[in-house]
């Protein structure tokens, strides 16, 4: 596996805090995230369609949320006081479906139906079909404003439920993201945590090349958000950042998670070609072997 420093965006992952979570929990969640990548790989390879790179980069983030942090109940996906997760970078939904299935929202053996006729697992998230999916996504840019609406509703209801949204970094190009940022800050929505999967790559190139977004932390700060920057594949840092976000008062929180697109498969990492690329059989086998290797490292 490539070292994190191979990715220029990871050099900015400044996280001065130690983890408050046990090594066993971090190892378990990390191992799960690795295993979930193999499901995504099989789903996309099986259908010859889908988005691997952005799914791999949010594996730890989604796993940490669903297996530790979010108050959700798979037996009651419509429980009104559940925490909400808006998965705004909808193209990466193969990972969302995998995590939801393993969390118990629907059978894991449904995953191979992904993107097939009559499947509940559509090419992009469809809330009326898939248990656990909160909003439609695919067209990028909706996450912050929708999450702000959910956070306002929670406040009106006097509910302690918390709202989360996961965005891509390319997705930040979209103007409506910034409209949502201003809205959330205006209403001081401290029940809202946005996580940016900041992998430095979008569809046709690096984010730096397609549409420069740095200095990204300064931008969110200037919009009156509380900013936390972490290494987005480090589960301990993810869990701590989520805990700290819960404690912030008077401002919405953004976690800039520095990640690697295609994380876990060396030849897919940091490459726009693997935004929507489909592996051939040799690439599939090689990718699977690398992922299994990476997962084994967490299994002691």
């Amino acid at each position: 596996m490539t070292s994190p420093s191979a990715n220029p965006v990871l050099a900015n992952a400044v996280y001065p805090y130690g983890t408050r979570h046990t090594d066993a929990m971090v190892a378990d969640l990390s191992r799960r995230a690795g295993e979930y990548r193999t499901h995504v790989l099989r789903m996309v390879y099986g259908r010859k369609s889908g988005h691997i790179g952005g799914a791999f980069s949010c594996a730890e983030i989604l796993t940490a949320l669903y297996f530790h942090h979010l108050r959700v109940d798979p037996a009651r996906p419509d429980w009104s006081d559940r925490d909400r997760l808006v998965f705004s970078k909808g193209h990466a939904c193969a990972m969302l479906y995998t995590v939801l299935a393993h969390r118990g929202f629907f059978p894991v053996d449904e995953l191979p139906t992904f993107r097939g006729l009559d499947s509940r697992l559509q090419g992009h998230p469809e809330p009326q079909k898939t248990p656990g999916v909160e909003v439609a996504a695919g067209p990028l840019g909706h996450g912050v404003a929708i999450a702000a609406g959910m956070a306002l509703a929670a406040r009106m209801d006097g509910s302690k439920r918390r709202i989360y949204a996961i965005l891509g970094d390319g997705e930040l190009n979209s103007g409506v993201i910034w409209e949502g940022m201003m809205t959330a800050a205006k209403f001081a929505l401290d029940n809202l945590t946005v996580i940016v999967d900041y992998n430095g790559v979008q569809q046709t190139g690096t984010t730096r090349h397609v549409m420069p977004t740095e200095p990204i932390a300064d931008k969110w700060s200037a919009f009156n958000w509380h900013v936390i920057e972490i290494h987005g594949h480090n589960v301990g840092q993810i869990l701590d950042a989520l805990d700290r976000a819960d404690e912030v008062h008077g401002r919405p929180v953004v976690i800039i998670a520095r990640t690697t697109k295609g994380k876990g498969v060396s030849f897919m990492e940091n490459s726009p070609a693997w935004h929507g690329g489909i592996p051939d059989s040799a690439q599939f086998e090689a990718a699977l072997a690398e992922l299994n290797e990476g997962t084994r490292a967490w299994t002691v």
Binding site: S119, G123, E171, N173, G175, G205, P272, G276
Partner: protein
């Protein structure tokens, strides 16, 4: 006119690749052409233009409202911008920019809508586009052109660029059967008779032209003569031509990869209702979102199979029959 189409139809070839090549050709012919995309040039194939004319290519990132507005600024300075992104994003997210500056303000911007109809099949309903004709057709001053195969893309794109005012050029993501021979010479605004016949007229656009031809060829084995008309320009619609088909064949079917509401079927229905009422059956997506899946399976499942066209033609002919025998019985 049979000479305009291949028999049998040619093997499938990529429409977006033909589009990319045609863009490069256009760039060579016209220095005023500027091409834009919104971080999807690898999908819409304008990357082919970018590779040859990087100084005339602009990637605005994932920002479709800005895509259109930047093009408006270029147009107001004498450029001929061709903006590219997914069809649904022009018709929905960037719509206000299109209405205000292209249609109302008169900015000479061309919109190339990639992934039209159900052709982005696996990405699913969020990325499929079944309402673009209806939306753009309702905007004053908009022109809508829909090529049916790769050759049509090459023949129509230069006309789109030369057209005065905004044009929406709707493209298919996938490999599509080669329909036309070199004799095909489309002109924006004019319907084209591809197969003559007088039992009923099938008016088709885009990828569905190939299926309409197959339907006509299959019915001809039962001695039913379907006229097949290609209506590559949805707006301004060639209403004289439609009326003539209604007069000469007495029954019509529209076939489009679009909702049956407001598109080609809607345009033909409006024309007939006002000028020459005649039985009309509309083939298209029946007011529903589709789903993810293989493209051709989706076309079949959502009502656009060759069999569905055949059945619609038979229904239209039966209605023609019923109304003429009704008229006869009134005489006696």
């Amino acid at each position: 006119m049979d000479g305009l189409i291949r028999n049998p139809l040619g093997s499938p070839s990529s429409m977006r690749k033909a589009y990319g090549e045609a863009l490069v050709e256009l760039g060579r012919a016209r220095q005023d052409v500027v091409v834009l995309s919104a971080d999807v040039q690898s999908s819409d194939f304008s990357y082919m233009f970018e590779a040859v004319y990087p100084e005339r290519f602009i990637n605005v990132g994932i920002a479709e409202p800005a895509l259109v507005d930047v093009a408006v600024g270029l147009a107001s300075s004498g450029k001929v911008p061709i903006a590219n992104t997914f069809a649904f994003l022009f018709a929905t997210r960037a719509l206000e920019m299109v209405r205000t500056h292209l249609c109302f303000g008169g900015a000479n911007v061309k919109l190339a809508g990639a992934y039209g109809g159900l052709s982005d099949s696996f990405d699913g309903p969020t990325h499929q586009t079944i309402s673009d004709f209806a939306i753009f057709r309702s905007l004053p001053n908009m022109t809508i052109v829909v090529p049916a195969d790769p050759l049509a893309v090459r023949k129509l794109l230069p006309q789109v660029a030369a057209w005065k005012g905004p044009v929406y050029f709707r493209l298919c993501r996938n490999e599509v059967p080669e329909v036309f021979t070199d004799a095909y010479e489309p002109k924006i605004g004019e319907g084209v008779t591809l197969i003559d016949g007088d039992d009923a007229t099938v008016i088709a656009c885009g990828v569905m032209v190939a299926r309409a031809i197959e339907a006509a060829r299959s019915l001809s084995r039962q001695d039913i003569r379907l006229r097949v008309v290609e209506m590559h320009t949805i707006k301004p619609i060639d209403s004289d031509f439609i009326v003539r088909c209604a007069q000469e064949t007495g029954a019509l079917v529209t076939v489009e990869e679009h909702s049956i509401i407001g598109g080609l079927g809607g345009a033909v229905a409006e024309c007939l209702a006002q000028q020459y009422p005649a039985p009309l059956e509309r083939i298209g997506v029946n007011d529903t979102f589709a789903e993810s899946g293989p493209y051709l399976d989706l076309l079949d499942k959502y009502g656009m199979s060759v069999e569905a066209i055949v059945a619609a033609a038979q229904r239209a002919m039966a209605r023609k029959q019923a109304s003429s025998s009704h008229a006869t019985s009134e005489v006696y």
